[in-house]
């Protein structure tokens, strides 16, 4: 009897031993796969289309005059960068966005915080702001031009208006939805009003605020194009118009690519700056 049981035991431990040793390796492989292959999967379509279009134009099946192939766009991009044109226009646009974003965020933060914190202020100003929000911001352009002229002030104001609304809404909503139970913890520990804001409200509101900053910045980029399309002598939007009027589609696409790069980079800066304060959000519940 006993040898038989021994062999069974040996067999069973042997058969169990292999998979349990193999499993972690498989799991790390799977993790590596999901870490690299999932984003790569998303790239398959655009890269595939670009390669296909390049191929079609190279084969002479299409002229590619109105829709330049990737190689031409890249060459135009490099050319613009080499002459310093691209940098100059990008910096001008970036400056407008920075100014408009700064003003819009400052106003939205002060007014949004007041409206979120005080029901009286909210009742007083929120209906008006909601009414203004219903107006497409571009509709203000003629008025801004009449008031502020056709140069920087009207452009920056338009961007600031675009940035204002998402930040205002996000901040006010976040303050209103702060967990009363956590506020009560603050009360139980006898926090002063200032401490309550600093130790409870601010950290509680921060995730939603950062999110609203990001969507505000997105709108800022949208409105800077609108402003520059309507009349500018510099800026990436000017590059777009210039490409249209001189019939240079590659320049237009190059400007669009520059928009994408700078837009993504600025968004990434916000994420990066906020990351140390939001690390608590990333952890997963253990059980």
């Amino acid at each position: 009897m006993s040898p038989v049981t021994m062999t069974i035991a040996a067999q069973s431990t042997g058969s169990e031993g292999t998979p349990s040793e193999a499993a972690p390796a498989e799991r790390t492989n799977a993790r590596r796969w999901s870490r690299w292959m999932r984003p790569a999967l998303g790239l398959a379509l655009p890269v595939g289309l670009a390669v296909a279009w390049e191929f079609i134009v190279r084969m002479g099946w299409a002229s590619g005059r109105l829709a330049p192939p990737p190689s031409v766009i890249f060459a135009t991009f490099v050319d613009l960068a080499r002459t310093g044109e691209l940098q100059r226009h990008t910096l001008v646009t970036l400056g407008r966005v920075a100014a408009g974003f700064g003003i819009g965020v400052a106003a939205a933060t002060v007014i949004g915080a007041a409206a979120g914190y005080s029901p009286l202020v909210r009742r007083l100003i929120d209906p008006s702001i909601q009414g203004l929000r219903a107006i497409p911001s571009i509709a203000w352009v003629p008025l801004f031009i009449l008031w502020l002229g056709i140069f920087e002030a009207s452009k920056v104001t338009l961007i600031a208006v675009g940035v204002f609304f998402p930040v205002y809404l996000g901040l006010m909503g976040a303050i209103q939805s702060v967990d009363r139970k956590l506020v009560e913890v603050g009360r139980a520990f006898r926090l002063t009003d200032v401490e309550m804001v600093r130790r409870i409200l601010l950290p509680a509101v921060l995730p939603a605020y950062v999110l609203s900053l990001r969507s505000g910045l997105g709108l800022g980029w949208m409105f800077v194009i609108a402003a520059e399309l309507m009349g500018a002598s510099e800026g990436l939007g000017y590059l777009l118009i210039d490409g249209q009027q001189l019939g240079k589609p590659a320049e237009i696409v190059a400007a669009i690519v520059a928009f994408a790069i700078v837009g993504k980079a600025t968004d990434w800066l916000i994420v990066l700056a906020a990351a140390p304060f939001l690390r608590w959000e990333d952890v997963v519940r253990s059980d």
């Binding site: 009560e184 913890v185 009360r187 520990f189 690390r279």
Partner: protein, 263 residues
């Protein structure tokens, strides 16, 4: 000493939650407040803690009238209510805001050791289990060394095993500095395991219906006959408190049948 002098509470919406509760609690005493729903147990606790001051009567601690949260009074809520953006250690030290850094660190370390969570100090609250989180909440309330600790159904959200574990643990912690404990619960076993005195409230509006002294030696054996005897007394009082309430018809018939059996 903590004295409740005809503490009553009528909310602005007209709900009469508490109808004059008078109670004296000695320093270091453990009092469990138990009662059916609508008996104003939580309202009473919030009045003592100064979170919702009473509309009639007064809460007096050591001769001082309590109308707002007080440094001598700590509160533990039903949920841990840890601040999710603070590490466990910073949550425990939350009430030590004004103290020097070194003192704060030392007291937090002692408290975490006492609740057995030293290894979790650098974790985020979201990474804790429910029982661990409530232990952190207990440590946070105890760190400022309150004279009175209020507990609002602190273990009701936990599973039975964790609950019994934490009840024993709470007594253990209480023995360190022996603060006054006032515990609101709807768990009869819990009230008898922990309390020197069980106060039974009756509903609509909340009043004291009965007080039952529990003079069993600690640690208390939940299975002993003496424990069972006290438990029956509390259950009967609880049962009668519900029957005497305005809506006698609302009292569950099952409970009435139970009472008939016990006597």
């Amino acid at each position: 000493m903590l004295a409740l002098e005809r503490v009553g509470k009528t909310y602005p919406n007209g709900v009469h939650a508490l109808g004059g509760v008078s109670l004296n609690v000695a320093l270091g005493e453990i009092v469990a407040v138990i009662g059916g729903s609508g008996s104003g147990k939580s309202t009473l606790l919030r009045a003592i803690g100064g979170l919702d001051p009473p509309s009639d009567g007064a809460v007096v601690l050591d001769g001082e009238r309590i109308t707002a949260p007080h440094e001598k009074i700590g509160i533990i809520f039903q949920e841990p209510r840890l601040l999710p953006w603070l590490k466990v250690a910073d949550n425990v030290g939350f009430g030590l805001g004004g103290r020097p850094r070194a003192e704060r660190a030392a007291r937090v370390a002692t408290a975490l050791k006492r609740v057995g969570l030293t290894d979790k100090a650098a974790m985020w609250p979201r990474e804790l289990s429910g029982g661990q989180a409530q232990r952190v909440a207990i440590a946070r309330a105890l760190v400022p060394r309150p004279e009175v600790l209020l507990l609002d159904e602190p273990f009701s959200a936990l599973d039975a095993f964790t609950r019994a574990d934490l009840q024993d643990h709470l007594l253990d912690l209480w023995a360190d500095a022996k603060p006054t404990l006032i515990l609101v619960t709807h768990d009869v076993d819990e009230s008898i395991v922990l309390a020197d005195r069980v106060v039974v409230l009756c509903p609509r509006p909340g009043r004291i219906f009965d007080e039952i002294d529990v003079d069993l030696p600690r640690p208390r054996d939940r299975q002993s006959a003496a424990f069972d005897f006290v438990k029956r007394r509390v259950l009967v009082a609880l049962d009668r408190s519900l029957n005497r309430a305005a809506g006698a018809a609302e009292a569950e018939p099952k409970a009435t049948a139970g009472a008939a059996l016990w006597w």
